[in-house]
Amino acid sequence: MPAFNQLNTYLYLAVILFCLGLYGVLSRRNLIAVLISVELMLNAASINFMAFNRFLAPHPAVGQIAALFIMAVAAAEAAIALSIIVALYRKLKSINIEQANELRG
């Protein structure tokens, strides 16, 4: 059975993608990069949905709907996050996440 026709392949792909995204979120100081990493994680989730839909679910459309939803949510999230980043930039003249520390306890 070819590798591209197995569930596990896609799950590994999704895990790798997710871990890359997580690493980006946790390590990058640039907010835009963090945002991109979040998108990666969302895509990993989408891949998971599609894979399970393709190999396990009886109905062919459920996972696709979930993936479409994730795309829509990601678009909205990107818009909001970008506007927050812009606002932050106006205030701090920087988009370095470590400079947003006014709420330090």
């Binding site: 946790l26 390590s27 996440i97 520390n101 006014e102 709420l103 306890g105």
Partner: protein
């Protein structure tokens, strides 16, 4: 909804009309004295008619009639709202309605020109409402509510001239002291509800008669309820509010002392008399307290100089006598008739005495009967004649009403094994006659001009030092005679003052002869009254001796106006200081209430309550400080932590199973 019994409607009207009058006057018409008078008098007349109608309707029918509607219903306790009509309550209903009606008439003359005329009548209406409601209520809780309303109304009326410090103080004192007794009353009611389960008067009485209650419960509740009676009926040691209550307008004193406020206590004692009578220890206690009160008030009455004070102490002593009569009847398995009959006759002659005192005070502008005598009190024919009639009744002289009822009570006391009680009763009768006729003789036979007695008893008529009491009337008095209120044309109507005096004097004369009739009405049968000639001779002889002694000290031509007590100055001073009861309570307040309770509770409030709140606040601040270290402002550190926790939970969920 079932059709209401017409009698129920009448009873309800009897209670609601005065309440409406109170509300109406207080809200709408209090600025307009004559309209207020009309409203109040209408309600009072209606009550009078209803009371007499019920009395007439139910004459000769001793079966109690209970008219109830449900009011509070819970699992264990049902509290009905309703009326209990039996001979006891019907007679009292008539009594209260009549006396309060007469006093409203009298007040037209007495309060003429007072700026608070409307308010005065509103308060009188409230008083009538509370007392009528108390008299015919079917359950003890309803009775307690009215009981408190009576206290409220008396507070309002005693402190009626509230601009005067002493009056507002006296009002407060009356309210607080009677409340002190009411605490015990309420505890008694609570005990009854918890352990017996009902507050219905008829049911409690029936259970006590059938000995269905446990003795400890019976005695405890009886003693606690007697605490409330002590407060209301001014028994030792919480009688101290009553003499101060003289600060109110005199018609109010008359109302307070005859048929309403203080009578409420003794009325309660008769109302649940079978309940009380079932507990011999409680009855003995009542007898002892009442006897002590009787002696105390009689002796203090001997030295008072203020006519209202004398009558006030005589009220305390007569209330004590009623309680003694009831307690003795309870101990000797007698009937409530003696005490209740004395309550009835006393209501008549005490109202009469106070209204006469009011007539004198209104005329002379002083409360000291020595100054009245100097002013020529004996020229006021109608008050002088009627006050003498009242005094004869109070002293217990044939054929006035007091004679019959006192004789009955002494007869009850005579039946007890311990002859000490009847001795106290006879001693009290002697003292009562003495101090009563001290007032009468002083009023009737003023000393000639320049007699040294005038120096001794001189009190300035306006302002000045003196008793502390005695000057409250002038302000109102000035208004009364000026007639410059604008609303009040001319002089106060004399007839309004004299009419109630004559009516009450008539009642005082004939009521005694109705003894048999009333007994048949109250008990359903009239026992042939066996005459105890020894006791009769003793009682009347001692009363006459008291009068004779009063004549020797105060009445005869050469009398120096020195009481026989003045030979024992220590004792006289003891009585003048009212047995130091006011001092005792002052000390008690300072030492126990302020220094012990107030201090403890203040400390508790400062340290425990306030401290507790502060501790919570400080704890919040401190823990907030501590937790704020988690706010590192390092977003990614927080995220990392979150991810690790989630991973940990995930691993646990996967592996832990």
């Amino acid at each position: 909804m079932p059709a209401l019994d017409p009698l129920f409607v009448l009873c309800a009207a009897c209670v609601i009309l005065p309440l409406l009058s109170f509300g109406g006057i207080m809200i709408f018409t209090w600025r307009r004295p004559f309209l207020s008078l009309a409203v109040s008098l209408t309600a009072s007349t209606a009550c009078l008619l209803i009371a007499w109608y019920i009395f007439w309707q139910r004459w000769g029918d001793p079966t109690p009639l209970v008219l109830n509607v449900d009011w509070l219903v819970s699992d264990l306790v049902r509290v009905p709202f309703g009326f209990l009509l039996d001979p006891v309550s019907q007679l009292m209903l008539v009594l209260v309605a009549t006396i309060s009606f007469l006093i409203q008439i009298y007040s037209i003359g007495y309060m003429w020109g007072d700026p608070g005329f409307g308010r005065y009548y509103a308060d009188l209406s409230l008083f009538a409402m509370a007392m009528l409601g108390l008299v015919i209520s079917s359950g003890l809780l309803q009775l307690f509510i009215c009981w408190e309303l009576v206290g409220l109304a008396s507070y309002l009326l005693i402190g009626f001239w509230y601009e005067k410090f002493s009056a507002s103080e006296a009002g407060k004192k009356a309210f607080v002291v009677t409340r002190f007794g009411d605490i015990f009353f309420f505890m008694g009611l609570a005990l009854l509800v918890i352990f017996y389960g009902s507050l219905d008067i008829a049911s409690i009485n029936a259970a006590a008669v059938a000995q269905k209650m446990e003795p400890w419960l019976l005695t405890t509740c009886a003693l606690l309820i007697f605490g409330g009676i002590c407060g209301k009926s001014a028994q030792f040691p919480i009688h101290v509010w009553l003499p101060d209550a003289m600060e109110g307008p005199t018609p109010v004193s008359a109302l307070l002392h005859s048929a309403t406020m203080v009578a409420a206590g003794v009325y309660l004692l008769t109302r649940i008399f079978p309940f009380f009578a079932a507990s011999a220890p409680a009855m003995t206690y009542v007898l002892a307290v009442a006897s002590l009160t009787y002696v105390l008030s009689s002796t203090v009455g001997m030295v008072a100089r203020d006519i209202k004070q004398v009558w006030a102490y005589s009220t305390i002593s007569q209330l004590a006598m009623m309680a003694m009569g009831l307690a003795a009847a309870g101990l000797a398995h007698g009937t409530l008739f003696a005490g209740y009959f004395h309550l009835t006759t006393h209501a008549g002659f005490k109202a009469l005495l106070f209204l006469c005192a009011g007539a004198f005070i209104h005329h002379f502008g002083t409360n000291s009967f020595f100054m009245m005598s100097k002013g020529g009190a004996k020229k006021l024919t109608i008050p002088m004649v009627t006050v003498t009639i009242g005094a004869l009744a109070l002293a217990g002289i044939f054929p006035f009403s007091g004679f019959f009822s006192k004789e009955l009570i002494l007869g009850n006391l005579w039946h007890l094994d311990n002859k000490l009680w009847v001795g106290i009763g006879l001693l009290g009768a002697f003292l009562t006659a003495y101090y009563t006729f001290r007032v009468i003789f002083v009023l009737l036979f003023p000393r000639p001009e320049g007699h040294p007695a005038w120096e001794k008893y001189y009190e300035p008529v306006a302002g000045g030092h003196g008793h502390g009491h005695g000057h409250e009337e002038e302000e109102a008095h000035g208004h009364g005679h000026g007639g410059h209120g604008g609303d009040f044309p001319g002089h106060a109507p004399e007839w309004a003052i004299n009419l109630p005096l004559i009516v009450l004097a008539g009642v005082t004369i004939i009521l005694g002869f109705l003894q048999g009739t009333l007994e048949r009405f109250l008990l359903g049968e009239s026992h042939p009254h066996e005459m105890n000639y020894l006791l009769l001779v003793l009682a009347v002889g001692l009363a006459l001796a008291g009068i004779a002694l009063a004549w020797w000290d105060w009445g005869r031509k050469g009398a120096a106006w020195e009481g026989f007590l003045s030979r024992v100055p220590a004792l006289e001073n003891f009585f003048v200081q009212k047995w130091y009861m006011d001092h005792f309570w002052r000390w008690f307040l300072n030492a126990v209430i302020y220094n012990l309770f107030s201090k403890t509770f203040t400390y508790n409030d400062r340290r425990v309550v306030d401290g507790g709140v502060d501790a919570v606040a400080l704890g919040c601040i401190g823990s907030g400080r501590f937790l704020s270290f988690l706010q590192t402002a390092l977003l990614q550190l927080n995220l990392l932590f979150m991810v690790l926790v989630l991973a940990g939970v995930g691993i646990y969920l996967l592996m832990g199973r």
